[in-house]
Amino acid sequence: MLLLQLLVNGLVTGCALAVVSFSFSLVYSTTRVFHVVHAGLYTLAGYGAWSLERAGIPAWWGLVVLPLVCAGLGALVQLWLYAPLEQRRATHLVMLIASLGLLAVVQNAIAAVYTPNILQFTDPWRARTVALGGVVLTAVQVATVVLSLVVFGLTLLLTRRTLLGKRIRAVASNPFLAEITRLRPGRTYVAVMALASALVAVPGVLVGMDLGLQPYGGTTVLLTGTVAVIAGGIGSLGGAFLLSVIITVLQNLSLLVMPGQWSVGITFLVFVLFMLLRPRGLFARAG
């Protein structure tokens, strides 16, 4: 039974991580910026929902408000930081250092305002449990799985079936050609950043409700997510989703044989070996 419970916990965490990783993949494969600020927005969404709850507004409202707020912030990051840098033909390294700097600003601003200690939500709704064939899930965990699958489905629809999706893919595959055919890559980048930031707010709020909030917690989550993106093959949203679930399930199952504090370390150890042996990922698309 413990095995089954760990498996289910892994699936739940995996769904939340999957949203982080495929939204990162969307940004990375389109704008080519290694957007580490994503982790900051993820954390910020959780704290935003916590503040809403403090103000007497039911916490699930956060799931409506915070994606909108984060979408705005994501668009601003693109407009005010990445776009000017790109205009100056900044190298990858410069963009990444700027992004790291902004992440440090966001995380430390959160730590300065909310203290670096762990914060917990108090809404009784989040602790309500559902028993499914001997496995106990909280309401938040059920919501995490359902909403993650829903936003994943919507994102797939958006990127495959709509005009914006076509633009995104066009800009991602050849920014120069997109520019001369007046597709305006700059605007598409803003749209992608807004979309990805709205997406990352969803697990940000839900995981915060489930496990509590910490200012610097987002970094590990994002990096595990990027491991999933790379291992799943860059540009493949489905690969990122699948690999996220596989990674967290394996992390949870590893609790059977070793103490929990090692699981993150082992994940990255496996990743480094992966990089040495099969750097192209499992599901990379050709070209």
């Binding site: 990375y28 290694f34 930081l81 000017p84 840098l85 900044a90 190298t91 990858h92 390294l93 410069v94 963009m95 990444l96 250092i97 700027a98 790291l100 700097g101 902004l102 992440l103 440090a104 600003v105 995380q107 430390n108 601003a109 730590a111 300065a112 305002v113 203290t115 670096p116 200012p215 970094t219 590990t220 990096l223 990027t226 491991v227 790379i230 103490p259 504090q261 090692w262 993150v264 370390g265 994940t267 990255f268 150890l269 990743f271 480094v272 990089m275 040495l276 750097p279």
Partner: protein
């Protein structure tokens, strides 16, 4: 006066560490965000040897340098297989793995509470207990490392390293070993990291994981970027300037709980500002 001594000693130690980061990130172009982990290995090796009275100070420092040389070569190995953002993720992963090891390998590192009571440095049988003696030791080693770095930059080998950064293919085509150049640079950066870490351990007489986390790596990166990457002068200016900043912050009224976060956030803001307005830093070359 004591305050000035400890400031100058710490800055001198960070200059040595900055040289290590500058060599990898600035000169060879291997974007490592795990230099704090290397620094940590150096500090822990010296701390462990001195606390448990395995060997004296000078052999302990040599052991630190050797350990960091090996560790740095091993962690830089993925850079030979993968480049750009893939290596960034790997490097982040190495940093998180190192933090996990420092915090959880309680037998050797003392876990989260660290290794207290590292005895002061001793040279030729005399213990360096006075503040000026520590400063002299740190400045001496700093001068030695700077001289080494300067000679390296002027040597044909230094030109080879810079060529590797600009165009690996051209280097390989002209019959030079890219692999050997990178491994050599990683080894030397490791030695600098080990020496710096070793000095840090005996100077603070206390080693704990919080100095060697991701924030530590970002601090080292900020020092190099603000001072100016790719030059010796930049690596010297950066640490002296950035370590003076917290003193400026103490003049502003901030609650002590938020002070650490405010300092880290300020470093982040500096990173952004320099990337946007002056990517070459105060005395560096264009990134």
């Amino acid at each position: 006066m004591d305050y000035f001594y400890s400031y100058a000693t710490l800055a001198a130690i960070y200059v040595v560490l900055g040289l290590s980061t500058n060599l990898l990130v600035g000169i060879v172009g291997i974007f490592s965000v795990s230099q704090a982990a290397i620094f940590g290995v150096g500090a822990y090796v010296t701390g462990y040897c001195l606390v448990n009275e395995v060997v004296g100070f000078v052999p302990a420092m040599l052991l630190s340098a050797l350990a960091c040389l090996l560790v740095n070569v091993v962690v830089t190995l993925p850079a030979l297989r993968v480049s750009g953002d893939y290596f960034v993720v790997t490097s982040f992963g190495i940093q998180l793995l190192a933090t996990a090891v420092f915090t959880n390998w309680t037998g050797a590192t003392g876990g989260a509470s660290g290794l207290p009571g590292v005895p002061p440095a001793s040279l030729l049988g005399t213990e360096l207990v006075e503040a000026w003696q520590n400063l002299a030791l740190a400045l001496g080693l700093m001068a030695l490392c700077c001289l080494l770095f300067h000679l390296l930059l002027r040597s044909p080998y230094g030109r080879l390293l810079r060529a590797v950064r600009e165009d690996e293919l051209a280097v390989a085509a002209s019959g030079k070993g890219v692999l050997r150049a990178k491994v050599g640079a990683a080894a030397l950066a490791g030695v600098f990291g080990g020496v710096g870490g070793s000095l840090y351990a005996v100077f603070l007489s206390f080693v704990d994981p919080s100095s060697f986390d991701l924030n530590g790596s970002v601090l080292l990166l900020t020092m190099v970027v603000v001072g100016g990457a790719r030059t010796l002068l930049g690596s010297v200016i950066g640490p002296f300037l950035l370590l003076a900043l917290p003193q400026v912050l103490t003049m502003v009224e901030i609650p002590t709980t938020a002070a650490a976060a405010a300092r880290q956030g300020l470093y982040g803001a500096l990173l952004i500002a320099f990337m946007v307005f002056r990517p070459q830093g105060l005395a560096g070359e264009k990134l």
